[in-house]
């Protein structure tokens, strides 16, 4: 009961002072306002970008290792001649070897990719045929919009069934209810058993396994219908190539073993492949890189924040020193009445903190407005975390405390008689 009114009165005095010199206070606080404002804004942009990257990488599956077949450069050159058949990429043998070798692996999903014409009635589209197993659908979560996904039995009985991506289904079948319809893909009929929403996102060099126009068919059925040899038109000539598997998606049991498994995998593939006809991609590495980038960003941010708060603090200190000089007589009066040095010190400290905290609060308003504008104008995701606001406010108060110390000390050291004599 004794302590609180004192602080309240100093705060009141600080606010009165601030209002009394409105323009001067505002100019003084500008440093704080823009310092805190830019920090809050930048944190929210960084946080938004980070969260977006994280979501996308999780879409790739942070426990996954993706190995893609790659046409070696020599093969590409040789492929120009008519009679040549290009032979490269991952093999069924690779699939088996990987499954048998690594203990930390939960599942290996083989993928065969072909471009085929899909037809329904009059409508034709070029679709990507994905020959895979039931486990494809367990790799990353994708919403099932209707029907069911592929299962073990489809494989066992070599069923002519297909799961379509939402976009493909909508474009191909338009208004029809797609489930149960027969769709012609690459000359064979398939029954549509399910629709899924594809998570097709490009992430720099990596891409989620999904595409917009995907048709998922059991791998053994794809092999049986279309074989392993593909003919492709390239630069006016027909290129023949034989690729067994286009992709192997390896899911590791626990995230801690992703990187060791990846290096073991690299070792094994190098042993069995003469040419560099594959590429290993690890989303986790991407995640690590994203985190490293974010750390760097945070360091830069911290430096900018530090500098602007330093500038803001110096501005506040400057104005408080002027304030002490102007109010020398007041200090003398208070001392004559019986105020202790510590009480004068406390008063000026609190007044400085009122100034810096007000600046911080205004800065937070600016810091909230900027990300809102960024999101409105660019559609970029921004996230203002409550922590960043609390920390900003705390730092504003701390700036007041630190930069208020010297002026407050000057005020407290004044000789009362000298101070009273001052006009």
């Amino acid at each position: 009961m004794m302590r609180r009114p004192k602080i309240a009165r100093s705060i009141h005095s600080g606010i009165r002072n601030l209002v009394l010199h409105r323009l001067r206070s505002l100019l003084t606080m500008l440093g704080m306002i823009f310092g805190v404002g830019s920090v809050v804004a930048m944190v929210s942009v960084g946080e938004g970008a980070g969260r977006q990257a994280l979501e996308q990488i999780q879409m790739l599956g942070s426990n996954n290792i993706i190995v893609n077949s790659l046409q070696p450069i020599e093969e590409e050159a040789a492929g120009r001649s008519r009679s040549h058949m290009s032979l490269y990429g991952l093999t069924y043998a690779d699939h088996r070897r990987i499954t048998d070798t690594f203990a930390a692996i939960k599942r290996v999903v083989p993928v065969k990719l072909l471009r085929k014409e899909a037809r329904f009635g009059e409508q034709t589209l070029e679709a990507r045929v994905v020959g895979t197993t039931a486990e494809w659908f367990e790799l990353v979560p994708r919403p099932l919009l209707g029907g069911r996904v592929l299962n073990e039995r489809d494989q066992q009985r070599g069923a002519s069934v297909v799961v379509l991506s939402e976009t493909l289904a909508r474009r191909l079948l338009a208004l029809e209810n797609p489930l149960g319809q027969m769709v012609k893909i690459g000359g064979s009929y398939f029954e549509v058993i399910g629709i899924i929403r594809s998570e097709a996102v490009q992430l720099g060099v990596m891409q989620t396994p999904d595409r917009q126009l995907d048709a998922y068919i059991p791998l053994n059925v794809v092999r049986e219908r279309y074989g392993d040899i593909m003919v492709r038109r390239s630069a006016g000539s027909r290129v023949r190539e034989r690729v067994e598997l286009h992709q192997l998606i390896i899911q590791v049991d626990v995230i801690e073993q992703v990187e060791s498994t990846a290096s073991g995998l690299k070792e094994m593939l190098r042993r069995f492949h003469q040419a560099a006809d594959y590429r290993i991609q690890v989303p986790l590495t991407l995640l690590r890189q994203a985190e490293a980038t974010r750390r760097t960003f945070n360091v830069v941010l911290g430096a900018i924040a530090g500098i602007s708060l330093l500038v803001g603090g110096i501005g506040i200190m400057n104005i408080m020193l002027a304030n002490v000089t102007e109010r020398t007589r007041e200090i003398g009066i208070r001392r004559a009445i019986g105020a202790k040095r510590s009480q004068i010190m406390g008063q000026f400290l609190v007044e400085t903190m009122v100034l810096s905290t007000t600046g911080g609060l205004l800065g937070i308003l600016v810091g909230l407005a900027i990300p809102w504008l960024i999101t409105r104008l660019t559609g970029l995701q921004t996230v203002v975390t409550p922590q960043s606001l609390v920390v900003s406010l705390g730092i504003s108060m701390a700036v007041g405390l630190v930069f208020g110390l010297y002026p407050a000390h000057r005020a407290a050291r004044l000789d009362p008689i000298e101070a009273l004599r001052r006009e």
């Binding site: 009961m1 004794m2 009114p5 004192k6 009165r9 009165r16 002072n17 009394l20 007589r329 007041e330 003398g332 009066i333 208070r334 001392r335 004559a336 009445i337 019986g338 105020a339 202790k340 040095r341 510590s342 009480q343 009362p416 008689i417 009273l420």
Partner: protein, 228 residues
Amino acid sequence: MVEIIRLEKIWKTYQRGRRQVNALGGVSLPIAAGSFWAVMGPSGSGKSTLLNLLGCLDRATSGCYLLNGVDVLRFSDEELSDLRLRHFGFIFQSFNLIPQLTVRENIDLPLYYSGGDAATTSARVASLAEAVGLAQQLEQRPAELSGGQQQRAAIARALANQPEILLADEPTGNLDSATSRQIMELLQRLNQRGKTIVLVTHDPQIAAYAHRRLFIRDGQIERIEGET
């Protein structure tokens, strides 16, 4: 008769460049509780210096200062602040109210520093304002008051913590003679109710209100007039 203050061979020396200035040169003075003193003397004779020393606003270079029998010369800055807060009330020639505070806030400053709670403080301020005739002006700023009103507000402030001693340095110096008379009558009433008062003045008419007149010259007591 109770001695509230006793000065013994008080020296106050200022360093002015190389030269030493003795503002007070061995002043010895007993002040009885409830007495009313006027300090007179030419400009620069050491009147204000004496008053500041009495009020523990300044420290003597040497000598002995007993306040209620306690030697306060070795007191720390903090202890001296506390003595000022509880035992002394200052009244100045230029009123020295804090301009950005209201009259109420000026008057309750000593209560604020002594840590009074809100209810007692506002009751005390009301009765002080009543006593000095400023009950209607509490929410105004000092600049809106006349000189006499300002000085009465200053007196109310000086009385807030019920100190035993009032110290006034030319309290009527900035006032016309009619207003001066009102202020002096107020001080006289306070003295009659037991306050010890020491006031510095150049004006013999003002000094006439006091019981005892102390004349100083060059930092030394020249003579003392009035009944004992």
